[in-house]
Symmetry: D2
Subunit: 338 residues, 4 copies
């Protein structure tokens, strides 16, 4: 960490700061510049060191040098993590596709869409049973009944079931039905929930919060990894910006940026990332070209009758066409879809 002293800092202040840094067990190097003196503090930092120095009057700012995530870091594990459950394979040269409705609505609906997405090449089935909704007056999902229907659809199609868990006390129940536990964007920093899924050995799909920095995102993953669950997928689903023509702004540069820093696979959600069905197919192709390891998509047999997120859901026909294009784009960059 680099301690930048204020321009008017005296030699005494600099000496006092050096002493303080050394009391922390760190090695201090003083560099006197034209306009500022900086002190480089080398060694193993403890939590709080930065904040402590930052609040000293004679310090202008502290510049941290090293990222604070460890287990998620590529420096810890250079080879990419591949998550595989049933036929769903996310990571390496495989681009896995998870598709299905926003919410499980009925046995007929979920079985129908499961067959349709399977036929088009998906290997994972998404579907919400516990739904986090902005308004308390909105449909909150079919709950455990919905989970049973997802398990039924898995039985028939073999698709891996991906569904959201909203609170620590549901984790055990969810693990009985789901192949992948999804942590929604609203819960990215719900640390008790992260620790609870970290204690299981069920793979986790962790969605980025709409205003989370990449470091916060990786540190949220770190909460799960730190409990021993290594099967974590990072999901970019769009960030909140001044743009209102799309539901969120989908920054695909997240894909190569994360690949440079972490071994965890990166999944893209163009349905939430755009909020508009007609923009989803080109953004699926773009996500694959950017190098993503998986897609998660909303598909509904009749989007205009969906109980939630209809505006961003693909019809099964459009989904099948999209898969066709995506397969070609994946091949163009040397990868395989599904």
């Amino acid at each position: 960490m680099i301690v930048v002293m204020k321009p008017n800092a005296t030699a005494e202040m600099v000496q006092a700061m050096v002493k303080r840094v050394e009391e922390m067990g760190l090695k201090a190097h003083v560099i006197v510049g034209e306009e500022r003196t900086v002190i480089a503090a080398a060694g193993v930092k403890r939590d709080g060191h930065q904040a402590e120095l930052e609040s000293c009057d004679e310090v202008e700012k502290i510049v941290p040098i090293i990222a604070s995530y460890k287990v998620a870091s590529k420096e810890t594990k250079p080879e990419p993590t591949v998550v595989q459950i049933r036929d769903l394979k996310i990571g390496g040269s495989h681009v896995g596709v998870i598709a299905g409705p926003c919410s499980v609505e009925s046995e007929e609906q979920i079985l129908q869409v499961a067959r349709q997405v399977k036929a088009a090449g998906a290997t994972g089935l998404r579907g919400g049973a516990f739904k986090p909704r902005t308004s308390p007056y909105s449909f909150q999902g079919m709950k455990e009944e919905g989970l049973k229907l997802l398990a039924l659809a898995r039985e028939e199609t073999g698709l891996a079931v991906v569904t959201e868990v909203m609170t620590p006390e549901h984790v055990d129940m969810l693990c009985q039905y789901a192949d992948v536990l999804q942590i929604g964007a609203r819960n990215m920093q719900n640390y008790h929930l992260l620790q609870a899924v970290g204690e299981t050995r069920t793979p986790v799909l962790l969605k980025r919060g709409p205003s989370a920095s990449i470091e916060e995102f990786l540190l949220a993953a770190e909460y799960i990894l730190d409990q021993g669950n290594q099967q974590v997928m990072l999901c970019e689903r769009g960030v909140r910006t001044f743009e209102t023509h799309t539901r969120f702004t989908l920054p695909l540069a997240t894909v190569p940026y994360l690949h440079e820093r972490t071994h965890l696979p990166v999944v893209i959600d163009p349905s939430h990332g755009t909020g508009i069905a007609s923009l989803v197919p080109p953004m699926c192709a773009a996500a694959i070209a950017a190098g993503c390891d998986g897609l998660i998509l909303e598909v509904h047999p009749d989007p205009s009758r969906a109980m939630s997120d209809g505006a961003q859901s693909l019809t099964p026909e459009v989904f099948a066409d999209t898969m066709e294009t995506c397969r070609k784009v994946a091949a163009a960059i040397g990868k395989e879809l599904g």
Copy 2:
């Protein structure tokens, strides 16, 4: 709600849409404009109506007319809600001040700071016992031990205790020690937690998420109100924007904007809103001039030794001076501090 048809919508499409709107139990009014036909749908909407119409091909967009929060709305209850616990009074012509350290660190620390903020005029004591931290490797708080120290400080000073609850299973325990339950910004949309505090009758300080819209903020409050707990305070603590020179961007226009829409009191947190101690005093004065009902501030006996948030904590001396100025500003707009 207003249904805007696409420019190429035929008369048949318009008729089909009118039929659909009427099937929803709504009254349809067709308005043929120069370039678009719009259909105004009047009546009581059900959840899902908007999404259903939005996903029809011939519809360009849906424009909702009415806000979706009800109990929080000033239309439901025009007179302002005043929250009073012990000497802490938030709302009406009173500006309550809650001050204290980011984290409870020791008996000595919390008692000392409680006495100091009480002496300067605070009526509430803040202090974290369960700390949500971005990194799993950071200090996570003294937990129940910290709660006991807060209760001890209350016993000695009479200050109302405000502390954060992070997960539904802790709500009962927290209620034994706290006068106000704080929901942190990261948990603003942790709906199980909102419902759990809604089931208590302990007042709640709900912090705005860093990228939450005002409507999402009020709907989060609605989750609490809907469970029967009417003692909800809204806390603006800054939003995440492109600005990096401050920790967050603190939008004080939130205060009068909320006052026009909701009866719930509005508290400002300039410590998190700026992240820089030297900016806190002027922003306290500004928040009061903007009409806020309360302040929540970080004060630490020795900020440079704080275990968290030292850079944004005031010393007790600066806090006392700030209170002095705030008292004058409150008087200038006809309000009373403390």
Copy 3:
């Protein structure tokens, strides 16, 4: 436009508003809903109508129905505009590639890089002669001398020259040397400059401002089109958000979104959009998969010696590899590169 009355608006207020709308030459339709009365105003609006009604006390808000850009709109001209200058072809099934250094630095540099990008398949040459720089103390470009070198490079390679114009008084001079006039992001709403390039018949590459909405972007293009210059290319180069790990956030959904609304071609700038050379190749592939009509890229013979933007410039070797991948991705979606 839809006039939403406040909940407490009386019948008299509604009548007065209807009268006012009719005085504007518009037809008023009153729709009485459960909680609000709205008045739909149909007919040809004049500038100022919306603002006028918006500021009436009894009005809650005005909802405009129709976009304000006309000439840029697909409704005005459904078939896509293709811009062609020399071998550079942007639009339709062609993806044109404009490459070159941030700044023209010397004859040797610009000739060398022109040959290299030409060899790899580019058909346009970028290079700044007049450089808008954040600091007045930074290198401001070689000015007219730089333009002459660009013309020389064109003579040798046949590449179309794309270069930035910063002020109206330079437009004539620039037109003597350039094939395409670039309007930089900082000048997207420099209306005198837009009008000045609109008066020429030289094609224009208009960069989106870092916080411009899509409507503002299209209205800036409208300033050019309105002067009679129909050869306008829209360039997305990233928007400013809370993300700091990339220089800007590059929202590729802009591509299909614009294609649904305007006939103008869309060019992507992944160099500025990311600011990091290693992220540029995957974002080029992603931009093409998203359906863009062109790319503009920074390439420098020795990025570490570049006088500006070195960190985001590709080496000629990486550029050639990138073109190779992009060619395959373009083919995968039925398009042709170059």
Copy 4:
């Protein structure tokens, strides 16, 4: 500047980098940490040094230590700059108030409003004659005719005239009529315009661009100062964020933050900062409490008939009340209004 090497950088790479830094005329200090080696480069940097090192493969990042603005810096001139023209006094213990319509619309309108704002205590008169408008089809101002009316209003009332200049070729003409040249937010980085007003000795009100960082804002001021014009006022008028309930997000922490860094006075524009007339009075009070040196406000004799910005304009009556409150708030913090 601090050069952070990649974790896998070898001793040879570090040595090569030291050599390179020394070739730049800088002194290199190598600090070997637990996980990274960093090189502190002390001495006078030239433009391009940072970019050059940043683009070297073995470098992870460059951390600049010193701000790049000089003349605007408080380190260059510690005492605050006070701008005084006629009775308008901005800076020091005076809070100047500039009020008037968005656009000059007629002799009657501008004279009436000038008298009204003067009576309420304003010392500056704003009014647009050349109007930058998002759409080419909107009213573009009365141009020179408008300037003459402003001069007439000044003659009658003695108010200092503040009006916008949009292009370098208008600067001379504007100087004949205006006391203060306003640079609008859209033109904050129109460098030719900044230089042109920098060559005059007429005071300049420079508005912050809606997504400009504080450093970019100060460097824009630096373009003016660098030409010799020292009379620059910085105007915060709101930034563009995800918030849509207000026109922009008005970050008042800008005021004390700028005061810590620059001697230039800071003016707040709550009209554009909120876009909603009812939010303007509390934000005026808040801006003064935050320590601003001036206010610029839109006031119109009949906002609902304004040709632009009616929704955010105060009536003369509300303006007079607002001044009353502001006077008290200014007194509460030891300042004087007007």
